[in-house]
Symmetry: C2
Subunit: 284 residues, 2 copies
């Protein structure tokens, strides 16, 4: 559930298939429908429906359940990660009923809820125009762009996540190298903080790494078995389909697979970063 | 030549083996010696000598040439990149003559001259205490740290550069993937700018990539044959010596080697980044 009753000038209804989540929402004053069909009946047309669901069948099933209640003029925004081809299909299917569809790749992790998200939106110009006010309200200043037609938002987000995998792997290797080659004598949190002041490697992920290392220098909170959502693999598939070599991404994917067999200090840092930006829990 | 006559409260003399560089310095009012021996004779003791020379024999040769004129109480700072083992050797050799040595890993590229550098300093506590005022004057706010004993500054800088190789490769792959899979239709500069606003992949290197793509969307200015200084290979050697897997770094090194045979859009972006932060020229 993304939203809270009346929010940023929007009147918001929520729904989640999990009854406990619906109860929490009700407790926070968010009107909650009993089911998807009720939700569509309850919300006056034209509606803007924002989905944030696991990619693939979970999203497709909700779209199928919603379709009978949808009317021409409605808008659906898929704000989760998705294969961009699925989003192209959804846009085409909904267009037949006069329903607009925007695929919104959303980055910023759990920090985005406060600071505003970075949103890569795909869809036709009329669909984007309908979605724009709501997406603008969710975005960081300057953090909304209509990147292209249907599917392009999710394609750009897939590539974003592929880059993210490589960046995280580069930091994981570096901090493990400092830790192992220095016999544990270096103050890694202090070095991460130092690098934040003018070094070429400075970044938001480095800030998160520094916060993690300051809180738990040995990263003992993590088992170091690193999971993944599917976006890294989708990026690798996209690269293969277009003949683009992505060795750093491949290295990152393989390192995560290997971490499930043999965790390391570096893979613990990957877990720490995933916990910080994504709320993914990989505790020991 | 790093310095300009009287600077930040320091009186500065310069020397460069290139006569044209010495002439330029004289033209800017910087006292310049005729040779290294003259320089040492000209500067009153105790002296702080800051070297920024190619690693290996070039640095060692200047240290040998300086030694006869050095006195106990003098300080030498090696502010270039160097193998950390060489810096440990230099520290030990100079200590026999009572000369302090600090190995200062310096990041920030050509921007550092204005914004201040990020400096990772290695050496004994008395040596660092002598070097501190000068290094502090060169550093960005918060950008100076005494990371450990002799050699540790250059070791940490080596790992920093290893991370930098991986980060650059991740961005190069991602932007090439956007360019190739999108048939050139995406506005890559706008996407780089967007990602700077709240996305997980935001960083200083991404800002540079965005500036490069805004100025030259096809990156046609570059041949895409990407060079390297030695620091990436030193980082890989360090990893091998300590049994640390660094697949993203290896991927970056191999991609640069491959770029010299078969340039790509991604390798042109690497050249663009190297030009922006390091002043390295790899124009077409």
């Amino acid at each position: 559930l993304w939203a809270w009753g009346a929010w940023a000038g929007f009147k918001v209804w929520g729904w989640d298939e999990d009854a406990a989540a619906r109860q929490r929402a009700l407790g926070q004053g968010l009107p909650v429908a009993a089911g998807l069909a009720d939700l569509a009946a309850q919300v006056p047309a034209p509606r803007r429906l924002l989905l944030s669901l696991p990619a693939g069948e979970a999203t497709a099933a909700v779209l199928r359940a919603l379709q009978p209640a949808l009317q021409a003029g409605d808008l659906i925004i898929d704000a989760a990660n998705a294969r961009y081809q699925d989003s192209q299909d959804h846009a085409a299917q909904l267009a037949e009923r006069g329903v607009a569809f925007v695929d919104a790749g959303v980055s910023g992790g759990v920090f985005g809820a406060q600071a505003g998200y970075c949103i890569m939106a795909g869809g036709g110009a009329p669909a984007f125009a309908k979605a724009r006010p709501l997406l603008h309200a969710c975005a960081a200043p300057g953090g909304l762009l209509h990147v292209g037609g249907a599917g392009e938002g999710h394609r750009v987000k897939t590539v974003h996540n592929g880059i993210e995998y490589g960046l995280m792997q580069a930091y994981a290797e570096g901090f493990e190298l400092l830790q192992r080659s220095g016999g544990g004598a270096l103050d890694l949190a202090a070095i991460a903080r130092l690098w934040g002041q003018g070094a070429v490697v400075r970044s938001w992920l480095l800030e998160l790494a520094g916060a993690e290392l300051a809180q738990d220098p040995g990263l003992d909170r993590y088992e170091g078995r690193v999971g993944e959502n599917s976006t890294g693999r989708w990026a690798a598939e996209l690269a293969q389909a277009h003949g683009v070599a992505v060795p750093a991404l491949q290295a990152a994917l393989e390192a995560r697979a290997r971490s499930r067999q043999a965790p390391s200090f570096g893979s613990k840092l990957l877990s720490g970063l995933r916990a910080r930006f994504g709320g993914h829990s990989e505790a020991a």
